[in-house]
């Protein structure tokens, strides 16, 4: 069964460093999402992406964040200058048809900022 994959599973970085989290959505999916879960808290929407542009973003998704689909298979989330409060689990999701269609989640990347 096709699945969303994410790398790395765990990333440790120092405050102020740039990180790139990678996701490979399901191959025929066109809509991509990032969500974040700070430890012990609920999962929060960050951004949705379609047709090489951001469809919607939350208040959390400020200028420190960017997303990109650099090739036909990867979908990345970049945090330019990490802060301690960026430590969280980051989930990528994808769907085939977007609005109204199922979103399939990846296993997540645990980001630890020290």
């Amino acid at each position: 069964e096709p699945e969303v994959t994410q790398t790395p599973s765990h990333q440790v970085t120092q405050m102020g460093q740039e990180v790139i989290l990678r996701c490979v959505p399901i191959s025929n999916h066109l809509y991509f999402y990032w969500y974040r879960q700070i430890l012990g808290q609920k999962v929060e929407f960050l951004v949705s992406f379609y047709n090489n542009e951001i469809s919607e973003k939350s208040e959390i998704f400020d200028d420190q964040f960017s997303v990109e689909r650099p090739d036909g298979s990867n979908f990345t989330l970049k945090i330019r200058s990490t802060k301690l409060e960026d430590s969280a689990m980051y989930f990528c999701a994808s769907s085939e048809l977007g609005v109204g269609d199922e979103q399939y989640f990846g296993p997540g990347t645990r980001l630890t900022v020290t």
Partner: protein, 117 residues
Amino acid sequence: AQTVTQSQPEMSVQEAETVTLSCTYDTSESDYYLFWYKQPPSRQMILVIRQEAYKQQNATENRFSVNFQKAAKSFSLKISDSQLGDAAMYFCAYRADQMNRDDKIIFGKGTRLHILP
């Protein structure tokens, strides 16, 4: 703005027994989707069950069923014959329907379910 509330941070149930997890939500929309996701210790988000608001019939998926009360904006999850593998964090979630261009999922804070052997 839509919100999802789970009032039970933790629950425990004896193996083979039945447990019900509560969820309420708030929305001004008439059509939407509701979900229960399971997050085991591996942290993967797994869809357990889905309910379309326009359907009166409660969704069921094997041992999992929901009690959807649209007027009360309530969406509880019942797990029958609980198994050790059901131990996880369970998130109730909401998403607008396909006529609304907003397709982000809004999650509750979760209920941690413990299964007692």
